[in-house]
Symmetry: C2
Subunit: 363 residues, 2 copies
């Protein structure tokens, strides 16, 4: 419609993609077996290692976050391995189901949606299952807003059992809130393009530490989800398939800006938006769903009312797009993202819009 | 470097990406559970069905061509299934290796690199293996320039055994040269974004006909390469994972232009470039490697000399990028693509450059 501007997108990913990223995607293609590709790919590794805070290789693949976690689970674990997977929402439940389909012996760790898996839970599991092969931990569960205390949980695991593999779904935290792959002794960490990296959905990144690397196989046949392929090729700076190079261009442009800003400054800026928004939303009479400190999103509940109606009014009257609840939380929550290409002013606009919608509804 | 223009890219994919595609990729993100997404996705289906020449659903996934073929092989066949896979180059050999890793009983059909698998071969296989479950056929093998007579081969198979599944790697033909999914009774056809669709590498497309659809399972757990997921979701216009929406925007823009031009006109235009280039290159004293009529590329051989040296001179003196030979053909061939965003003038420039390089080398 003429004169109508695009709405403000406040999803907890995919986020709006800045124009400089689109421009970067438009850079000329180079063939993967050329010096130009090698030079690009080496710089890209350096930038990825910075945002993951690791000196280990970071594998880059086409796919969404789900594919990255699947590929890591498939590549690090073998059928029969006992793997602990706390389920705290739609995505972590997906890892449970996928683990079972791989033939893993998944240790059932269901946590009520909205609640966090804790260090106390970890200690119970370690005592009860001494023969665990590893863990699949979701740092921030995008469907419920739950954040776990990943640093303390990983510390507890590694103090007790240094060789248990810790695989982290950090799709909603890398480039958003503090995560130190090496310092926290995380063995494999997954991030996706459409969250902290402010890029189109479609590429996924897996940092692979030394203990995880030792668990990778030496695949003979091509198998797209086998990290062993990517890892062996990465060791000499190359790529096993036709790489999604132009998508990598876009991500590299965003990583470059993140390095310029520096991660601590970026994390603090995001945290400030999250803190402001959470406090302001509580003042509107909402409660916040999801334990822990997720800086990526706030999950809002106004109790027994249609949350989709509130979201629709926010969009129609204030041109602000928010995300809905999924599965058992449908219509029961509103999810608002506050990372990537959004500002404190956007948060203030959302609060102002929410207040107006609530006031109108109450009349 | 200032003043230096980008080289002319004549790879047989990835091809140079036109600016209008980049602009389309930059369109605002919409969430996958919105009416805006539904409307886009429905139109996208229609465009995909047109280029595949099918009324069946076309599944769209992140990944390169390899992932599409793997996902189709994984989803259509079961361990122990007897599957015929002619290997005529690097990529079709990859399907053989992947089939074996899946536990398929792969019927060994090695053809010398450069030669095509023929209707006569098909008849032999049909006679010898009456219990075949299906075929994996590579329409044009990008590594060797070989094209099979897909129409006749598929006709021969379906006349003899209508329920044998025909899975086609058409990565180097969809949107390039004639392919009719429905009329040729192809059960599953794979195409990738970076070839005929003139887009960045990173998304892959699989047309799934009714016989193939009947072979898909009803997966419970998420499994990224299980076409059953995508198919069931597609049946009600939705998507099982976070879709690479902005990559789809780019592909849709290109498909729209292909519909405007119409496929027969596009095919004829590409064929004319291919025919001109092949005739002109023969006049330079080259022979053409790879049997059949591949319109996507010409594979050039000047006998015993360094073809990488010729390619390097073409790039340095004439700013023309061509592709090298892979594996056993390394340094023995030059591969030139002539589809997508290239013109007859580009073909003429390449021939002119080749002649100059050869003349200089002969002096």
């Amino acid at each position: 419609m003429p004169g109508k501007s695009s709405p403000l997108i406040l999803y907890p990913g995919p986020v709006a993609v800045p124009q400089y990223v689109i421009d970067a995607i438009g850079q000329p293609v180079v063939h993967q077996r050329t010096a130009a590709f090698d030079a690009f790919f080496e710089g890209f590794q350096g930038d990825l290692q910075y945002v993951f805070q690791t000196t280990s290789p970071v594998i880059a693949m086409p796919g969404s976050g789900t594919f990255g976690v699947e590929a890591a689970m498939f590549s690090l674990f073998r059928p029969g391995d006992k793997v602990a997977i706390p389920a705290m929402g739609k995505f972590s439940q997906r890892w449970v189901a996928f683990g079972m389909s791989l033939g893993l012996e998944v240790v059932p760790l269901g946590v009520t949606w909205g609640h966090a898996f804790t260090v106390a839970h970890v200690q119970q599991v370690l005592a009860e299952y001494p023969d665990l092969r590893g863990w699949v931990l979701t740092h921030v569960e995008t469907s419920t807003g739950v954040a776990i205390d990943l640093e303390e949980i990983a510390y507890t695991i590694k103090q007790a059992a240094p060789l248990q593999l810790i695989l982290v779904d950090a799709i909603c935290t890398v480039g958003i809130q503090a995560l130190y792959t090496d310092a926290w002794q995380l063995d494999a960490v997954v991030a996706a393009s459409q969250k902290g990296f402010q890029n189109p959905t479609g590429t996924v990144y897996v940092a692979v530490g030394p203990v995880a690397a030792a668990a990778l196989g030496y695949p003979e046949a091509a198998d797209y989800r086998d990290l062993g392929h990517y890892y062996r090729y990465l060791m000499h700076g190359s790529y096993p398939f036709t790489p999604p190079l132009q998508m990598f261009y876009g991500v590299k442009a965003a990583l470059g800006r993140m390095r310029e800003e520096t991660l601590p400054v970026l994390w603090n800026r995001t945290h400030a938006m999250s803190r402001y928004f959470k406090e302001a939303v509580l003042e509107t009479g909402a409660s916040i769903f999801g334990e822990g400190n997720a800086d990526a999103l706030t999950v809002i509940s106004y109790g027994r009312c249609s949350h989709d109606a509130i979201r629709e009014a926010l969009l129609q009257d204030h041109q602000i797009e928010t995300a809905d609840g999924q599965d058992q939380l449908q219509d029961l929550i509103i999810r608002v993202g506050h990372f990537g290409p959004v500002s404190m002013a956007d948060m203030q606009a959302c609060i102002k819009g929410l207040k107006a919608v609530l006031k109108k509804g109450a009349q």
